[in-house]
Symmetry: C2
Subunit: 301 residues, 2 copies
């Protein structure tokens, strides 16, 4: 089984799937990777990795539980702008990743090493080993993703999303093969800046479209709202319906089963008209047991 994932929502479902069965591959968005203080940061890979390792911070959706901020405070004392928060333990990951990348190791291998060291059983794959930079067009101009997302707290209206470099990117080793699994799940992640970049890597959307896998997507919109992040605002700004149906339309032709929350049961008929089977269940994931429950329901479709 394979999961396409962005950050928090995808990470929770990854944990559920990993608890439900062995053999999980997670293909993760790297469009919001950034270099901060000279360190190579892969926010979505780390969120998935820390969640699978059982050390993710349960509140903030990034970083390691119980982390401290001594390095960042020292950075501030050295005159640095510290809007990009990095905990001390988290920094160990970034320092090691940066050293490996500088040594010429591809991100996919550096990721496998880190995940292995943390005891992660699932296979974590970046969507590509090449540089892809998600940028967001707003009334204030084109913004780097982390500037939009972290520094400006995704408050700007999003007029469009640009995936700089994606047309030259090559799927990381194993990504296309992973789309040929028994089940491919599109996680409840932002369709524009989490799943969108994964699908935009040349060959990925095409491979998923012709895959023999049972393709299941979990709606990131519940009751007309995103559980986390700017997905709802982006749908609205870019002229899509802000609902599970609006997202389903984006995935038409790529998905066999679409999973919506019980509160969206009324949308089922319209979604089925898109050619998808709808599964209705509780999609708002709580703790690990609840994530596993949703995963088992998905695997049983």
């Amino acid at each position: 089984m394979t999961l396409l994932a962005g950050g928090v929502g995808g990470a929770k479902l990854a944990q559920g799937l990993d608890r439900a069965a062995a053999g999980l591959t997670v293909v993760v968005n790297t469009g919001d990777d950034a270099v901060v203080y000279g360190l190579s940061i892969s926010p979505d890979l780390d969120t998935v990795m820390y969640t699978l390792a059982g050390i993710a911070d349960p509140q903030q959706g990034w970083g390691i539980a119980g982390d401290t901020y001594a390095t960042l405070e020292a950075m501030a004392r050295l005159g640095q702008d510290t809007w990009f928060r990095l905990g001390d333990r988290d920094i160990a990951t970034h320092v090691l990743r940066t050293a490996r990348l500088r040594a010429g190791v591809p991100l996919s291998l550096a990721t496998a090493e880190l995940a292995s060291a943390l005891g992660v059983r699932a296979r974590l794959l970046p969507m590509t080993d090449d540089a892809v930079a998600t940028r967001v067009d707003t009334p204030a101009g084109r913004l780097e993703f982390q500037e939009y997302f972290v520094a400006r707290r995704h408050a700007d209206e999003v007029l469009g999303v640009v995936l700089d470099g994606v047309e030259r990117a090559i799927p990381a080793p194993g990504v296309l093969e992973a789309l040929d699994a028994d089940v491919v799940v599109i996680g409840p992640s932002n369709p524009f800046v989490s799943i969108g970049p994964v699908l935009a890597v040349p060959g990925v959307r095409e491979a998923l479209a012709v895959s023999g896998a049972r393709r299941v997507a979990v709606s990131p919109i519940v009751g007309g709202r995103a559980l986390k992040g700017p997905a709802a605002a982006m749908l609205a700004a870019m002229g899509h319906e802000v609902s599970a149906l609006g997202v389903a339309r984006l995935y038409a032709g790529l998905v066999d089963v679409y999973v919506i929350d019980e509160s969206d049961r009324g949308l089922a008929a319209a979604i089925e008209e898109l050619g998808m089977t709808v599964m209705v269940t509780g999609t708002v994931m709580g703790g690990p047991e609840d994530r596993e429950r949703l995963a088992r329901e998905i695997l049983a479709t």
Copy 2:
């Protein structure tokens, strides 16, 4: 006034001189710089910088007072060998230095930026912006300096010191000019692996030899022992007398005034035969006031 310095002993005297008068330049050994976890570490520059900034750890002789080790512990969890101890606040320095060097900024400018951010008044200069690697020949083979010094706790007999790359190194901007000061002080640092590399940068020894400055050296050996580190063992292993006189012989022709501790008063006559004026005082520096006291005595010679 200018001070040539290695780590702890040089740093203490630097603080004394900086308290005694404005206008201090410190030329610092970079032969034991290393890349650890991909981070560019300059141990002697940092010891001098932290000491001048008033944040040095008073016990261990490296790092920042009260520092924590969360990043290092996370590195260990990620499978790294953590014999090279780096505190969380200290890591901020290394991360920023590394980013600046990677951006093409020379070490001298990166050092000036860091020192300025920490409020250091004195001018800190690396001996060179070029890479020089001090290596130590031992019965166990040729060792990288930090492997010899930290990992193996300078327990190996030292058969010789190699300064790899020094013959191609260029003095950092300002170094040669700084040797033309009113007073040039050689700090109580290891003559082989702290002062030796500074003097070995092409042009430095020659400039000091012809300098119009009053040249003062402070013995790193007191009562036949080094206050810190392997200086005494190195003197012995390389066939020199293990005493303030043994070091004085290494500096013959470069030094006008040689400062020895009261406990070495008996060596004064033999040292004066080398063509140096001897000053006898308490050279074992305690706290900041005591460092300033020694500095004022040196400046008054």
